[in-house]
């Protein structure tokens, strides 16, 4: 990539040492050398393997290697058929029309690895990893739904995002992205009939029996419209009286195709879409996206921009946790706390509005920095909030956490341990409530989090109550971080000098015709990112969130995979709720803290 656009170099991640240790261990401990290590992926070690050897390698990484990779962090695919730049010479990637991408996480190594499997269009099939990881179930269904790749041995390979009657696989490059690209939609009576028949509830399709030896079950359709499912989320319940025999979650009602949109939007214009992934997280959603692009382009973000980002993210973490806290109390029947907490959240939005101009979706981070500098008087607003909030939090503690009725409702309900959490891909507060002190902000600091002093709250009950307590204590830690941002806000630019910073700094555009052209091109077409593949996970409000970005050297993403925390969390609901009552299920749902936009994307 030469020419007007800058020649960028990869910035190696600071996690080089962990990656090299892993590669050393792999060479030493794994008997086969049937993998290929892709040298130009510097964000995490990337192994290519053929599909016969996939399961043995995964099994080895999960259980045999020293300090194993206990979590299947993500599973997705790339339609490579239109890709131009797949490496030359030494970097040449194996021939592939569809590539499966597995991402594993080791909490002991603090390391992610990527495993890729090349598939040809004529034989789109791979062995299912469900026998290794329980949470592979939904991921494989998603890949099948959106790419049409089959998984041999999958127990229930049905559509998960799209309606059961959908034709085609939307994330394939030959599937249309907009309704205007196809014939106008018509609903004929036959089509309507077919659609309605597809909606009929047959418990057998959901893997549930109609009756046991002793009882005939009642099936209760909880959602997609129900006051306590926090959006459009459906759970089919198999009930014996009020006791839950089985619960089968059904998602996809909030699917907007955010990943498909990324393939049309310019790098810069996609930022507002990220805001709407976890719509309670605000600018926190921008962060993994811009961090990934910055790593791809080799942009050094100035210290002030980094600190502003951290401050805004923590403000949004508090806002999101307050919504959780209030609705959690509300879902176990306590009516008032949510109103008090929304008052506080309103104060937060006041600050966010003063700084960014937006409230829930400011879309305020930019590639290379943030949109504007902080306004005058920002420090006074933040200081007032920091002085105001602790008294409120103490009041809530007495109202909610110390409430004996609430404790009776939530203690020992929806329990899982650390091992199960890792197996199911649980991250964030849900993982820390099992006693594992693992927070990405500490383990793999990004955006300057290593400069801050804060603790990782943990509790070891793994139940609904502890998940609530962990989040409550995280609000305190966020206040601490914001206080440090306030006291130590660096001076300097709020945006990088790098040519790929979007939009570029004005002062650098009015010099001569060349810089003016670049400014114009960067603003109209958008910047051109160097070829490559990158993924930077962050500790978002609800768990680990990351954008796995494949750039083919164009003005938009070739593939943009959004890994959200809520998706695997919901998958665990059946395990958490079996044998409990309907009221407990509501407490469990409330304690997970998900938003459906984050699940379905």
């Amino acid at each position: 990539m030469t020419g007007v656009i800058a020649q960028s170099v990869y910035k190696a991640t600071p996690y080089r040492a962990e990656a090299e240790a892993f590669i050393g261990d792999l060479r030493r401990e794994y008997d086969h050398a049937n993998y290929w290590l892709q040298p130009d992926c510097l964000d995490m070690p990337t192994l290519w393997i053929d599909q016969q050897s996939l399961l043995p390698l995964l099994r080895f990484l999960k259980s045999s290697i020293s300090r194993p990779f206990a979590m299947l962090y993500d599973l997705t695919a790339i339609d490579e058929r239109l890709r131009i730049n797949r490496g030359e010479g030494e970097l040449k990637q194996p021939e592939s029309e569809f590539t499966l991408v597995y991402q594993l996480l080791s909490v002991e190594r603090d390391l992610f690895v990527r495993i890729k499997v090349a598939l040809s269009e004529s034989r789109l099939s791979a062995p299912s990893a469900t026998e290794l990881w329980a949470n592979a179930n939904w991921y494989e269904r998603e890949v099948w739904d959106l790419f049409g790749i089959e998984f041999a041995g999958h127990p229930n390979l049905r559509r998960i995002m799209m309606p059961p009657t959908w034709q085609g696989h939307p994330l394939r490059k030959d599937h249309h992205a907009r309704a205007t690209e196809v014939d106008p939609f018509t609903l004929t009576p036959e089509k309507q009939q077919a659609e309605q028949e597809a909606l009929l509830f047959k418990p057998e399709d959901w893997g549930m029996a109609r009756a046991s030896d002793s009882a005939e079950f009642m099936f209760l359709n909880l959602g997609p419209n129900h006051p306590s499912v926090h959006g459009v989320f459906r759970i089919a319940l198999q009930l014996d009286g009020e006791e839950i025999v089985d619960a089968v979650p059904d998602i996809g009602y909030h699917h907007r195709g955010a990943e498909k949109m990324a393939e049309r939007q310019a790098w810069h214009t996609y930022v507002p879409y990220t805001d709407r992934i976890d719509y309670l997280g605000g600018v926190m959603n921008n962060l993994p996206y811009v961090l990934a692009l910055e790593q791809l382009a080799g942009i050094q973000v100035p210290a002030r921009a980094q600190t502003i980002r951290v401050m805004m993210c923590e403000l949004f973490r508090i806002a999101s946790h307050l919504v959780f806290y209030g609705t959690f109390a509300q879902d176990v029947g306590q009516m008032s706390p949510v109103f008090y907490m929304f008052v506080d959240r309103e104060k937060l939005f006041g600050i966010v509005e003063a700084i960014t101009g937006g409230r829930m979706h400011p879309a305020w981070f930019r590639i290379g920095g943030v949109a504007q500098d902080l306004p005058q008087g920002w420090d006074r607003m933040i200081r007032e909030f920091l002085d105001y909030m602790p008294a409120r939090l103490r009041e809530y503690e007495g109202m909610v956490i110390k409430n004996r009725l609430l404790q009776k409702r939530t203690r020992g309900i929806g329990v899982y341990n650390t091992e199960e959490a890792l197996e199911w891909g649980i991250t964030g507060p849900g993982l820390r409530a099992t006693g594992l002190e693992w927070d990405l902000r500490k383990r793999r600091p990004y955006s300057g989090y290593d400069q801050f002093e804060f603790d990782i709250p943990t509790h070891d009950g793994g139940d609904c109550f502890d998940r609530c307590r962990v989040r409550e204590e995280e609000i305190w830690q966020s206040l601490r971080i914001i206080r440090q941002c306030l006291d130590n806000m660096p001076s300097g630019p709020y945006k990088s000098d790098h040519p790929l910073t979007t939009p570029p700094r004005k002062g650098r555009t009015m010099q001569d015709i060349e810089t003016l052209i670049q400014h114009f091109v960067n603003n109209s077409w958008g910047p051109v990112m160097p070829v490559g593949e990158v993924c930077v996970p962050i500790e978002a409000t609800k768990g680990l969130n990351s954008y796995q970005i494949v750039s083919d050297g164009g003005t938009n993403a070739y593939r943009n995979r959004i890994r959200t925390p809520s998706f695997p969390h919901l998958q665990m609901i059946p395990l958490m709720s079996r044998g409990l009552l309907v009221g407990d299920l509501i407490a469990i749902i409330a304690s997970i803290d998900f938003v459906m936009a984050d699940v379905d994307r």
Partner: protein
Amino acid sequence: MTAPAWITLLNIFGVLIAAVLLAALLTWGERRLLGFWQDRPGPNRVGPFGLLQVVADMIKLFFKEDFVPRFADIPVFILAPTVVMATMLLGFVVIPVSPTIGVIDLNIGLLFILAMSSMAVYSVILGGYASNNKYALLGGLRAAAQTVSYEVFMGLSLMGVVMLAGSFNLREIVQAQESGWYILPQFIGFFVFFIAGIAESHRLPFDLPEAEHELTAGFHTEYSGMKFGMFFVGEYLSVILISALITTLFLGGWLGPWLPPVVWFALKTGLLVMLFVLLRAAIPRPRYDQLMQFGWKVMLPLSLLNLLATAGVLLWIG
């Protein structure tokens, strides 16, 4: 005691209309109070202080389509909401508002009220059953179980008062409190009855039959328009009735210095109603089985002990 017919009629219509109007007003009052406690305005747009909100709501409910789901058991579906209205209004008949106000002076007044409030649960059960909806069914089941459990000690908790007063007649019970309100000697009875009363009127924290977070709207999921309105007003009627009954039995009814008896009665009842609303604002909902356990394992023994102690003391004094 025979009063002229017009006084009797005035009493009948006065009490009943006042009860219904107050219940309707309470739909506004509760929202305002909750708003006050929850840092928000509540309905304050229609009329002075939003008072005409009641009228606006009424107009809305009356003009809504009177919808009956086609899968429902139609006669029962229509009957169910009327039961709660009717029984609750009948309950007011025996409440002695003041020495001169009160529809009827029944010598088994207390039993009559207990009977009426037991009848009211049919409304919930029938409504839940006739809707032919699973949420409604679960709500109805919960209501049945809850009522069976709480009815038992609801009655038992009042027997202490009956023993002290030596009568089932509500007027005589009030008069017997000239020397001191029964809330002091019968505090346990008061406590148990108050809790049972909340359960009886399906108010939070005992609103499990409707528990909107679990069962969407529970037994009245399928109801809309005025039929829903009747359930709604019925609930408020029962809140007022239970408060009035507590006033009568434990707080000396209309008794009090300086102010006229009606005012005393209204004040005490009003405060209790506010307490009901405050509870709703403050407390989470226990789980269904926890509620049952609490009833059978704590409340029932407590009311039995209270009964035993009261009887013992009375025998001792002679």
